[in-house]
C-alpha cells in the first residue's frame, strides 16, 4: 500500500513538472488538436450541396425575430395572440364544465346524501367543502391550461425561446445578470420549480443565485390561469362585453411584462447589493427552426403539463376546500373563525388596497398558487352572507353571468383597485411550496431560500401599498 501511494505521489509530481515544461498554452493546444482532427474527419465524410435556399430562410427569419426594431414588438404580439386565444377560447368549455359539475352533478350528490340521511356536517365537509373546491378548480383551470400549454409548447418546439433570450440578453447584462437567465426565465413561465432547476446551466454561482431568486417573477403555470381569471372577472367585466376579451388580454400582458421588469430590477438591485460581481460572457446557440410536430406536441403538452398541473391543483384544492368549509362553519361565541380572521386582516388589507378575505385566502392557499381565486370567491360569499348564490356558508358557487359576479363583488366591497392589486399581489408574493423546496435543494442554503421567499412578499406589499395610495389620491 505504501509503495502504491509513493508511486501516486511520484506520478503527481511528474505531472506538475511536465505542466511547467509544456507551458500555459497546453489547454489551447489540446483544443486545437481536437479541432484539427474533427475538421479532417469531417472533410472526408461530409458532402455539402448547394443549400442557400433553406439556409437563407432561417437567416431571414432570425433577422426579423431578433431585430432591434421588431424583436420586442413581435415578442409582445406573439404573447398577446396566445393569451387572447386562451381567454376567448376558454369561455365556452369553462361554462360547459361548470354547468356539468356544479349544475348537474352537485345537486344530484346533495339529493343522494339527504336521501341517505348523512349527517349535516359530513355532507357539508365533503360536498360543500371538498367537492365544490375540486369542481371549481377543474372548471376554471382546465380549459385555459388545455389551450395555453399546447400553444406555448408549439412555440418552444419551433425554436422561438432562444430568440427571446437573444433579444433580452443585452438587458440582462445591463442589470448585472447572466444572459442565460433569459432562458431560465422563460422556463419559469412554464413552472418556477423547473426554472430554478434549469439555472444549473449558469456556471457562475453569483449569477445563478440571481436567476434563482428572480425566477418567481415569471408568471408560472399556476398563475397564468389565475391572472387570466382575475382579468376576465374584475377588469374585463368593467367594459362592454365586446371589449372584455381585449381588455383582459392587455391586463394579463401588462402583468407578465411587469414581471419581466421586476426580474431586471431585482437582478440589478441584487448585483449591486448582496451579490456584487462581474458579468460573465457566454455563447448562445440559436438552434435551427424546426417545424413542430403538431399532434405529438398537443398530446405531450396535454399529458406532461396540463394533467400534471391540474392534478397538483386538485390535490391542494381538496384539503383547502375542507379548511374553508370548517373555518366558515365552526363558530366561536356566535361568529365563525373565518369572520374573526377576516376582520383581523381587514385593516392591513385595506392599507395595501386588498381586503381581509383576500389575505385569508392567501394564507389558506399557501401550498398552491392556483387555488387562490376560488378560495377568495368562496370566502367572499361565506363572509358577506350572500344567500342567493351557492348553498350557504363556505360553499363555492358558480359564476355564470357577469351581473352576478359584479353583484357579489360590490357586496364584498370590491373596486377596480382591488382587482388590480389582486393581480399585482398574485405576481409579487412568495413562490409556491414546491418551488421553495426546490430552491433549498439547489442552493443548500436557508439564507438564500429565505431571501427568495420573503423578498417578493415585501415587494408585493410595497407595490400594492403604493398603488392603493395613488389610486385613492387620484380617484
Amino acid at each position: 500500500m505504501d509503495n502504491k501511494s509513493g508511486q501516486i505521489d511520484e506520478l503527481i509530481s511528474q505531472a506538475s513538472e511536465l505542466r511547467w515544461k509544456i507551458g500555459s498554452d497546453y489547454h489551447d493546444k489540446l483544443t486545437e488538436g481536437i479541432y484539427a482532427d474533427a475538421a479532417s474527419i469531417t472533410q472526408r465524410a461530409e458532402i455539402r450541396k448547394d443549400n442557400s435556399a433553406s439556409y437563407n430562410f432561417d437567416r431571414m427569419l432570425d433577422k426579423v425575430l431578433t431585430s432591434r426594431t421588431f424583436g420586442f414588438p413581435i415578442m409582445g404580439l406573439i404573447l398577446s395572440i396566445i393569451l387572447w386565444l386562451t381567454i376567448q377560447g376558454a369561455n365556452y368549455p369553462s361554462s360547459m364544465l361548470d354547468s356539468l359539475l356544479l349544475g348537474t352533478v352537485y345537486p344530484f350528490l346533495k339529493d343522494l346524501s339527504s336521501q341517505l340521511g348523512i349527517v349535516w356536517w359530513i355532507d357539508g365537509l365533503l360536498l360543500d367543502g371538498i367537492y365544490m373546491a375540486v369542481a371549481w378548480v377543474i372548471a376554471v383551470m382546465l380549459p385555459p391550461m388545455a389551450i395555453f400549454f399546447p400553444l406555448f409548447t408549439l412555440l418552444e418546439d419551433f425554436g422561438y425561446l432562444p430568440r427571446v433570450a437573444f433579444n433580452l440578453d443585452g438587458l440582462f447584462k445591463k442589470s448585472g445578470a447572466h444572459g442565460k437567465q433569459a432562458l431560465t426565465m422563460s422556463m419559469g413561465w412554464g413552472c418556477n420549480a423547473a426554472g430554478v432547476v434549469a439555472t444549473r446551466i449558469i456556471d457562475s454561482p453569483r449569477e445563478r443565485l440571481i436567476a434563482i431568486i428572480t425566477n418567481n417573477f415569471s408568471l408560472c403555470n399556476g398563475r397564468w390561469p389565475t391572472q387570466i381569471l382575475i382579468a376576465t372577472i374584475f377588469i374585463g367585466a368593467l367594459v362592454p362585453a365586446g371589449w372584455s376579451g381585449l381588455v383582459s388580454t392587455t391586463a394579463v400582458i401588462g402583468i407578465a411584462f411587469l414581471g419581466i421588469f421586476f426580474t431586471f430590477f431585482t437582478s440589478w438591485f441584487l448585483s449591486r447589493t448582496m451579490l456584487k460581481g462581474e458579468v460573465s460572457t457566454f455563447t448562445l446557440e440559436l438552434p435551427p427552426y424546426r417545424p413542430p410536430r403538431f399532434w405529438k406536441t398537443i398530446y405531450t403538452s396535454l399529458i406532461d403539463r396540463t394533467i400534471i398541473v391540474l392534478w397538483r391543483a386538485i390535490v391542494f384544492a381538496a384539503p383547502a376546500g375542507a379548511v374553508i368549509w370548517l373555518i366558515s362553519n365552526i363558530d366561536i361565541s356566535g361568529h365563525s373563525i373565518a369572520y374573526y380572521s377576516i376582520n383581523f386582516l381587514d385593516e392591513f388589507g385595506f392599507l395595501i388596497g386588498l381586503n381581509g378575505v383576500i389575505l385569508l385566502a392567501y394564507v389558506v392557499a399557501i401550498p398552491a398558487n392556483e387555488i387562490v381565486i376560488p378560495t377568495v370567491l368562496m370566502l367572499t360569499v361565506a363572509h358577506f352572507g350572500i344567500s342567493n348564490f351557492g348553498a350557504g356558508d363556505g360553499v363555492m358557487f358558480d359564476l355564470d353571468s357577469e351581473t352576478q359576479t359584479a353583484e357579489i363583488l360590490q357586496t364584498g366591497g370590491w373596486t377596480l383597485l382591488t382587482g388590480i392589486n389582486l393581480m399585482l399581489f398574485s405576481l409579487l408574493h412568495n413562490p409556491c411550496s414546491t418551488t421553495i423546496f426546490t430552491i433549498y435543494k439547489e442552493t443548500k442554503s436557508w439564507k438564500w431560500t429565505s431571501v427568495a421567499t420573503i423578498l417578493p412578499i415585501i415587494m408585493g406589499i410595497v407595490v400594492c401599498f403604493l398603488v392603493a395610495q395613488l389610486y385613492r389620491i387620484l380617484m
Binding site: 511520484e10 503527481i12 515544461k21 482532427d37 479532417s40 455539402r48 450541396k49 418546439d157 444549473r200 438552434p287
Partner: protein, 259 residues
C-alpha cells in the same frame, strides 16, 4: 421457409419487435448505456424513443440539466439508459459538463452513445473525439438526418465509422427512423460482438504527445485495468483537481456512478 426465417433474424426490424420499453423501471440492468451529445441534438428524443418515456423535449440548447434515467429490454437483456446533459466538451468545469464527464468516467457505462447533429458534424465531432478518449465502447448516433438533408448535407457514414473506429447509426429520432438499427448496434457493442477501435487524438504537438505518453504509462502501471489512461494523463496536464483526487483515492476502481 427456414431460409427466409434466418434472413429475418439478422434484420434489425425483426429484432426490434423484441424491444420492450421499460419506462423508469431500471433495476437489475444487464447493461448501462449513457447518452451523451451536444446540446439540442435530440438526445431526449432518442431517449424517449428507446425507453417509451416522455421526458420533455424542447428546441433549445441546455434543456436537460439533470440526468434522466430509463430502461428498455431487448433480446432478454435489460438496459438502463442515462440521458446526460448536453455539452460541447468535457474539458470545462460547469456543473452540466461535470455530470456528463463523471458519469462516463467514473460510472463506466457499458456503451456510450453519442448523439450528434448531422448538419453540424464538425462541431459535434469535438465532443465525440473527447468521449472516445475516455471510453472504448461507443456508438455514434447521427441524428437529425432529415434536417441535414433539408440543408443539402449528405454524410458518408461508412467513411465516418471507419475514421472514428466505432459504429455509426443514421437516425431521424423524431420520426423513429433508424431507432431499431441503433438498438441492435447498442446491444452488439454491449455484448462485445462489435469491438471498437476508437480514434485517438492525433494532431497534438510533439512535446504534448510525449508528455501524455509518459504519464499515461505511469498511470497504467498503477491502475492496469483502466481503459483511458491517455485521457487521464491529458487531464492531469491540465491540472484537473477532481481527476487528481480521484487518482489519490482510486475512485476509478470503485466506479461510483458519477454524482
Amino acid at each position: 421457409m427456414e431460409e427466409v426465417n434466418k434472413g429475418c433474424e439478422d434484420c434489425a426490424f425483426y429484432n426490434a419487435a423484441e424491444l420492450k420499453k421499460l419506462g423508469i423501471s431500471v433495476e437489475n440492468a444487464d447493461y448501462v448505456i449513457a447518452l451523451a451529445g451536444n446540446p439540442n441534438t435530440g438526445k431526449s428524443t432518442v431517449f424517449n424513443a428507446l425507453t417509451g418515456l416522455r421526458q420533455h423535449t424542447g428546441n433549445w440548447a441546455g434543456k436537460t440539466v439533470t440526468r434522466a434515467e430509463g430502461g428498455f429490454k431487448y433480446n432478454d437483456k435489460r438496459y438502463k439508459l442515462i440521458d446526460l446533459p448536453g455539452t460541447y466538451s468535457l474539458l470545462s468545469t460547469s456543473e452540466d459538463e461535470e455530470v456528463a464527464r463523471n458519469t462516463i468516467l467514473f460510472g463506466r457505462p457499458d456503451v456510450t452513445v453519442v448523439v450528434a447533429d448531422a448538419s453540424r458534424l464538425e462541431r459535434n465531432l469535438n465532443l465525440v473525439l473527447q468521449v472516445l478518449e475516455i471510453t472504448d465502447k461507443a456508438v455514434l448516433c447521427l441524428n437529425l438526418m432529415d434536417e441535414a438533408k433539408r440543408h443539402g448535407i449528405e454524410i458518408d457514414d461508412r467513411t465516418l465509422a471507419k475514421d472514428l473506429g466505432i459504429p455509426v447509426v443514421v437516425t431521424s429520432a423524431r420520426s423513429n427512423e433508424g431507432i431499431p438499427e441503433l438498438i441492435q448496434t447498442i446491444s452488439q457493442v454491449a455484448s462485445g460482438e462489435i469491438v471498437c477501435k476508437p480514434h485517438r487524438i492525433k494532431s497534438l504537438p510533439k512535446k504534448v504527445e510525449q508528455a501524455v505518453q509518459s504519464l499515461s504509462k505511469k498511470i497504467n502501471g498503477l491502475y492496469p485495468e483502466l481503459p483511458n489512461t491517455r485521457w487521464i494523463a491529458m487531464r492531469l496536464l491540465d491540472g484537473d483537481q477532481q481527476i487528481l483526487s480521484a487518482i489519490k483515492s482510486g475512485d476509478f476502481i470503485s466506479s461510483g456512478n458519477g454524482q
